[in-house]
């Protein structure tokens, strides 16, 4: 029973990671930016999702509010800041680090230092039991949300025009520009979508683990590990990486707790050294 529970725990953790990592990897794949502010987007999305759901009594309303707020922020960051350093790897990364400082401090200012969680009233409660296996509904809910979003992303990527443009942009930026597609707005759109995914992650994740100062760095580190292992730019990679890290994390903590810290960062280091493009990434 414990093992079965841990498997689902790992998958649920992986689901939150996927929501976070998918946005990060898409942005990197298309724009070659490692958005270090992604964790801050998660945090802000979480806070707003919590506050609005508490006020409205409805999780969906909170979710929409979180997505809207973070999308606006991401739009401002992309159009107002990142455009000035488009194409320059290091300044882009550094700029997003600066944004993280700013957003984190503003969150401290507005929301204070108390850890916050989704109010019990708005999230699916209780657990289901099959034989002597019990599992909380919320964990399944999180896995479900992540799965739906993952499928939606895959469908959009492979079957829609927008998706085709994005895939083409990942492969060869200059050519699609030459074909007349306004790559700037594609970039902006992708950045906003990535941030929206982080916001969803934050709100949904806030039902399982609290949001507070410092969470932006913790989740960012995990997301980076996932996308490095899965491969920068690949949704499938993010999915596989999330599941792998989620399961490794839970099982390591259960059976080899002394090494639990290393079980996450050692694979990352190894992948970077042996196969830097990750499991599903494209070789240049």
């Amino acid at each position: 029973m414990l093992i079965a529970q841990q498997v689902i725990n790992g998958l649920a953790f992986g689901a939150t990671l996927f929501l976070l990592a998918s946005g990060l990897t898409l942005v990197f794949g298309l724009m070659r930016i490692v958005n270090m502010a992604h964790g801050a987007f998660y945090m802000l999305g979480g806070y707003i999702g919590i506050v609005v759901s508490a006020l409205s009594g409805n999780l969906l309303v909170g979710l929409i509010a979180a997505i809207a707020a973070v999308a606006v922020l991401a739009f401002i960051v992309e159009v107002g800041l990142l455009r000035f350093v488009r194409g320059q790897e290091l300044p882009e990364v550094l700029l997003t680090i600066g944004v993280t400082f700013v957003v984190a401090d503003i969150c401290l200012w507005i929301f204070g230092g108390d850890p916050q969680q989704l109010p019990a009233a708005v999230r699916p409660q209780g657990s289901f039991t099959i034989g002597d296996f019990t599992y909380p509904w919320y964990g399944i809910f999180v896995i479900g949300v992540a799965a739906v979003i993952g499928i939606a992303l895959a469908v959009v990527q492979t079957r829609t025009r927008v998706g085709a443009i994005v895939r083409a942009g990942v492969d060869d930026r200059e050519t699609i520009q030459a074909m007349g597609i306004n790559i700037r707005w594609v970039f902006t759109g992708m950045f906003v979508v990535g941030a929206a995914l982080a916001a969803i992650g934050g709100t949904i994740g806030a039902g399982r683990q609290p949001i507070l100062q410092g969470v932006q760095n913790e989740v960012l580190l995990y997301a980076l590990v996932v996308i490095i292992i899965g491969g920068l730019g690949s949704i499938a990679g993010a999915a596989v990486g999330s599941v792998v890290i989620g399961l490794i994390d839970v099982f390591a903590k259960t059976y080899i707790p002394e090494l639990s810290y290393f079980t996450v960062f050692l694979p990352m280091a190894l992948v970077l050294v042996i196969r830097p493009q990750g499991l599903f990434g494209k070789a240049a």
């Binding site: 290091l90 993280t100 280091a269 990434g281």
Partner: protein
């Protein structure tokens, strides 16, 4: 074998590659065109030397020691970024590891000389690990590798509590007897800063430095010329690592204390902030950047609650509008004035501001 993970987006840079930083030309012309830089350095030097006598209290002097130690650490990062184009998020952990080496030796009751030996040994081992793991990567992947190794070191510091005392840290680390006063220690740190800066400067001027810059500007070109790029990068990392280790040792002697926070990623991020603020590739950049960041962290924070917000905003503004940092922007300004006066050749020698350009623009692998 080029790193499959890096996309080579060809960028053509004029006056690139193998021009050494430093000026060809006649002897007199060199000093005339550089007099501002020399004067600036001399001024800093004199002020630094006289600081304890300028009516400052022990806190100011000890804060300046903190700044100088951070500047040494920032210089090590600056060297790697400016000369080698390798931005590292792991140097905090190297300094922290050296500090732990000394701290552990102190806990064993060993004398100060042994502390130095252990710290040096730890520094060399850790730097070598970083160097070897990262030597075939560049750009964003290099950043990630250094981040990962840094996190592993942080994990060791936190968990391996029989050696590191875990999260509580090691306290009461002994400093050499003859340095026990705050102002004698300040001079020691000041001397160390001068020596470290001088050493890095000499390396920059050397053929090794020139090759590094070549690698920074175009790895594939250097490879085609027969250079063993990976080992040059290892060498650069080792040099940078030793300077970082020095900073770590000075730090643990300064505070008599070390804890896992010193090895964490936040510290390393602040180092990058310092380097950018000050100016990549410049000699005084790290000192300027360290001064700004440490003052904001420790002095501004006493008066303003939202100091982290201010730090973030300052950083963003510098990236957007003053890419070359404080020192780099001043140098640029001086060159522009001089060019208008016609006293320097156009398309002139590459200097520190070009380091910033090279690193912060597309740097092809």
């Amino acid at each position: 074998m080029s790193n499959p993970a890096t996309r080579v987006t060809p960028v053509v840079r004029p006056s690139t590659g193998l021009i050494p930083a430093g000026v060809p030309g006649s002897g007199g012309g060199f000093w005339r065109s550089r007099w501002m830089q020399v004067a600036g350095l001399a001024l800093v030097f004199v002020v630094g030397l006289l600081l304890p006598y300028l009516g400052t209290n022990s806190f100011t002097v000890s804060l300046t020691s903190t700044i100088l130690i951070a500047a040494i650490l920032a210089s090590s990062v600056n060297f790697l970024v400016g000369e080698g184009g390798m931005a590292s998020l792991g140097h905090g952990a190297i300094a922290g590891a050296a500090a732990y080496g000394a701290g552990w030796a102190s806990k064993q009751g060993w004398d100060v000389g042994m502390q130095v030996v252990v710290a040096l040994a730890v520094t060399l081992v850790v730097s070598f690990v970083y160097a070897v793991l990262s030597m075939r990567t560049s750009g964003i992947y290099f950043l990630m590798v250094t981040l990962a190794v840094g996190m592993l070191i942080f994990g060791l510091a936190s968990k391996y509590s029989t050696v590191t005392n875990g999260d509580t840290g090691i306290s009461n680390v002994a400093r050499p007897e003859f340095l026990s006063e705050y102002w004698t220690y300040y001079y020691f740190v000041f001397g160390a800063f001068v020596v470290a800066t001088a050493v890095l400067w000499v390396v920059r001027q050397s053929p090794f430095g020139a090759s590094l810059r070549g690698i920074r500007d175009s790895e594939s070109r250097m490879r085609s010329l027969g250079y063993s790029v990976a080992w040059y990068k290892v060498g650069a990392f080792m040099i940078s690592g030793v300077i970082a280790g020095l900073a770590g040792l000075l730090s643990v002697w300064h505070t008599h204390f070390v804890s896992p926070t010193s090895t964490g990623v936040e510290r390393s991020v602040l180092l990058i902030v310092m380097v950018i603020l000050g100016g990549i590739g410049t000699t005084m950049g790290p000192l300027i950047g360290a001064t700004v960041v440490i003052l904001i962290e420790n002095v501004l924070s006493s008066y303003v609650d939202r100091w982290q917000l201010i730090l973030g905003l300052v950083f963003i503004l510098v990236i957007l509008f003053a890419r070359a940092g404080v020192a780099g922007s001043i140098a640029k300004l001086v060159r522009r004035i001089r060019r208008r006066r016609g006293s320097a050749p156009p398309g002139g020698p590459s200097g520190p501001e070009d380091a910033a350009e090279a690193v912060l623009s597309n740097h092809p692998a």
